[in-house]
Symmetry: C2
Subunit: 255 residues, 2 copies
């Protein structure tokens, strides 16, 4: 049984403040909960139906605390419109980022991404393309927001997310010969640009792109050209869409 | 002033049945409403604040009926959490699709896309890549669903959407030498495949991919390879993400 206090606690994880104070985040949905348990991330609480626990051979050791509960209790605790059979409360990891982790890698940097669905989709894209580090400006949406976790589809357990000063990062990277790319309307055509297999690609805010201070530090400005007929096409691509196209273009050349 | 009846009518456009009966769909958001007015699609009703009408120099001829109304009235009629200053009711176009429209073009076909956000994002991607026709299986989500319109960001006015039998379409296309591509787990690596500048690319359902009957008809099976380290990566990409990567790959080669 899931106590009223536990239900309240799970509900409260919708708020960043509570997540930060408690050092945990909420994971929902059968598949992602299973990924959480298998991930090596410490699971503080696993609340699930008896059939879910049985079918997936989850014992009392699957988490620090395993609670068998009813669908109604899950529904009360859930943030989802159509809750599934399991919820997990997982400890927020404390990743350290060193320059050595970025050297020889292709990493993503996100400047003030606001929409949780976009951030989650981008983390999933990063995972697909073997990107280990996603670097977010400190004003970006919190990656432990339940909507980010949902959209990331488990990729949150495989990609390390860091919040830091991107302008400082861009300076340091370029000083150590790691190229920094960014997408700009006036950038060079990505399809005909020279792209390094290692570096950092900066993607900007949904409405405003990369902030001026950061933009000033980026040496390699690239652009996805539109193939629309005449001047009639869309003004821009969604940021997650643009990230996917850029990652595909950087990565396919390494094959 | 927006009458109670008009507010009720606008609200009812959330339902496909009403949209089909009335032959109209709902457009919200300042920018997309302006695109609707400029699109050449007949606008049956434009409801907006006086400042919106004035700032954008919209007169009584901007739509069949122009109603100046208060933010409160817009809010009542709106489907959005944060309504803006304008709403338009636009006539659903009756596009005819001929084989000649597909010959010499690169078109998208969508098999049972269920999520309105995905469909809207895909229409926006199609617009960016100069794709004129998007062909949806009859069981796909309705493209005039307000959430599709939102996500398409005005691209709905530039891309023609058709609902039809995709298996029949694939047969006819291949009979007339138009290649049909589809994404499959067992498909050939898209980055090293021969891709025709003309043809139809089929993308499948979010959970289940392309349906077996249609899959059996597709001669060119392609796949976006994962670059994840080991076997640890995400199982799949979101369908809109995958569509963006495929369109980028088909189109960049034509440049």
């Amino acid at each position: 049984m899931l106590s009223k206090n536990k239900i309240k606690f799970i509900q409260s994880l919708n708020r960043k403040k509570t997540r930060d104070q408690e050092g945990v985040f909420l994971v929902e949905g059968n598949k992602v909960v299973l990924e959480a348990v298998a991930s090596g991330f410490p699971v503080k609480l696993l609340a699930a139906s008896s059939s879910f626990l049985k079918n997936n051979r989850l014992t009392a050791t699957a988490a620090k605390e395993v609670v068998e509960c009813s669908p109604e209790e899950i529904k009360k605790a859930s943030q989802l419109k159509t809750p599934q059979e399991a919820i997990a409360v997982v400890e927020i990891p404390t990743h350290q980022l060193t320059n050595a982790q970025l050297a020889g890698e292709f990493s993503l940097a996100l400047d003030f991404i606001q929409d949780p669905g976009n951030l989650g989709t981008i983390i999933r894209i990063a995972d697909w393309f073997g990107i280990r580090q996603v670097l977010c400006s400190v004003n970006s949406v919190d990656c432990y927001n339940p909507k980010v976790i949902q959209a990331s589809m488990g990729a949150i357990f495989r990609v390390q997310i860091h919040y830091l000063d991107l302008a400082k990062l861009a300076n340091e990277a370029q000083e150590s010969q790691l190229p920094v790319y960014g997408t700009f309307l006036e950038g060079e055509n990505i399809y005909t640009s020279n792209l390094s297999p290692h570096g950092i690609l900066v993607m900007g805010n949904e409405g405003n792109g990369i902030s001026p201070v950061l933009a000033g530090k980026i040496r390699h400005k690239i652009h996805i050209p539109s193939f629309a007929h005449g001047n009639a096409g869309s003004e821009s691509l969604n940021v997650a869409t643009a990230t996917a196209i850029c990652c595909s273009e950087f990565k396919r050349r390494v094959v």
